[in-house]
């Protein structure tokens, strides 16, 4: 897959899609890893922080996309006030730190894309993923690499065709995330009911655009 490829729609296990209508996963493979952010990205973070005010953060949960993720968190047994939705996490960091300090190119790209679109994004090392990405329930006895013990059966996971890569909205399996050695990156968006396709594609393109800058 080249860097010019369009976002691909991942698979959703039948038992999951029957229960959680509207759930989707979209991803794009980029032929690059992370690294230091260039000046242009740092400036963009500053400009974004200036636009992302306290009032905007307060009103966030009344906007359609952030609200859709809050509802989905409730539907899958998470409390969005304990485990924040990605966009609320970004907003909270903005309030705590008074800005969006640059971390690295990938994290900066995800921060910009999540803050701008409200869509939940993750990233994986493309060379550590086998086949297409999807969402399914964990099987009995199945572990998540780097975590002690087995996953409780029926846990929602982002998986490739061989193993779970990450908990949905949670920890990434050891060695499956992007590191300094990563040569190819998968940008992955989780779509829930109420989030339109166009917002998901925009989020991926935003992140990809920052990564390529």
């Amino acid at each position: 897959m080249s860097s010019e490829a369009v976002p691909e729609r991942g698979w959703i296990a039948e038992d999951v899609s029957e229960e959680l209508a509207g759930l989707g996963v979209h991803y794009l493979v980029l032929d690059q890893g992370s690294g230091r952010s260039p000046r242009a990205v740092k400036d963009r973070l500053k400009e974004l922080a200036a636009r992302f005010s306290g009032a905007q953060a307060v009103n966030l949960r009344q906007q359609a996309i952030p609200w859709a993720y809050r509802v989905f968190f409730r539907h899958i047994g998470l409390d969005p006030d304990e485990q924040r939705t990605p966009v609320e996490e970004v907003a909270l960091e903005r309030m705590k730190k008074g800005g969006f300090p640059s971390q690295n190119l990938l994290d900066d790209a995800l921060t910009i894309a999540i803050a701008e679109s409200g869509v939940a994004l993750r990233a994986f090392d493309a060379d550590r993923v086998e086949g297409r990405l999807g969402i399914r329930l964990s099987l009995p006895g199945e572990p998540l690499e780097g975590r002690p013990g087995e996953l409780p059966p029926g846990t929602l996971v982002i998986a490739d065709e061989a193993r779970p890569l990450a908990l949905m909205f949670g920890a990434i399996g050891s060695g499956r995330g992007v590191s300094s050695k990563t040569k190819r990156t998968i940008l992955c968006a989780i779509q829930v009911r109420g989030v339109p396709d166009i917002a998901v594609e925009e989020a991926i393109w935003l992140a990809a655009g920052v990564m390529r800058s």
């Binding site: 038992d15 999951v16 029957e18 229960e19 959680l20 307060v58 009103n59 949960r61 009344q62 609200w67 809050r70 509802v71 409730r74 539907h75 899958i76 047994g77 998470l78 409390d79 006030d81 304990e82 485990q83 329930l137 409780p152 029926g154 846990t155 929602l156 908990l167 949905m168 909205f169 949670g170």
Partner: protein
């Protein structure tokens, strides 16, 4: 409740034709879908309430998690729905109670401004009237002790919050630049 939500519970057949375990229907997906719809509506209400309550502090918004991420059963969804309902009701009650207190405090500020001498040393902050910022109204005597003895009271309005950036620190670089540009003796 299931019937009220349009869920068919009748399994049909007479005793002996249907095994006992099938009499307890397990396919309660329509019920779960309805509960998810209810949770979505309640989450919207709670979010609206949370936004309208800002910047009031000390209101409990926690609903709690049942553990996930996973597909929840009807009983767990029902538990979340009920917890949301209770939280909304409690938050509404608390906001209404505070709104009454804040209204009384606004009235107090008006009376203080009209008759400051009747409210000596009374201080009302923005927080007490449900607003943001750090402003406060304070009934104080003019000219200190003299005003107090003569009954010259007034309500003083504070100038608001401290500056976010604080006072400008002295700039050593600027000082050096000035020294450098000073004409030598």
């Amino acid at each position: 409740m299931a019937e009220a939500l349009g869920y068919e519970t009748a399994v049909g057949g007479g005793r002996g034709e249907v095994p006992l375990d099938l009499l307890v229907t397990t396919d309660d997906r329509p019920l779960r879908d309805e509960l998810r719809r209810q949770i979505a509506r309640l989450e919207q209400q709670l979010s609206e309430l949370w936004t309208s309550a800002f910047p009031r502090k000390g209101i409990d918004w926690s609903v709690g998690a049942v553990g996930g991420p996973r597909i929840l059963g009807a009983a767990e969804l029902e538990r979340i729905r009920d917890a949301l309902l209770i939280r909304i009701r409690e938050a509404q009650t608390e906001i209404a109670r505070r709104a009454d207190v804040e209204e009384q405090n606004r009235g107090l500020v008006e009376r203080m401004i009209a008759e400051p001498a009747s409210y000596p040393w009374v201080q009302v902050s923005n927080d007490d009237v449900g607003d943001r910022d750090c402003k406060h109204w304070h009934s104080r005597p003019r000219f200190g002790i003299l005003g107090m003895l003569l009954g010259w009271w007034r309500v003083k309005l504070s100038s608001g919050c401290p500056l976010a950036e604080g006072l400008a620190a002295s700039n050593p670089d600027g000082k050096e630049a000035q020294e450098a540009s000073a004409p030598s003796a």
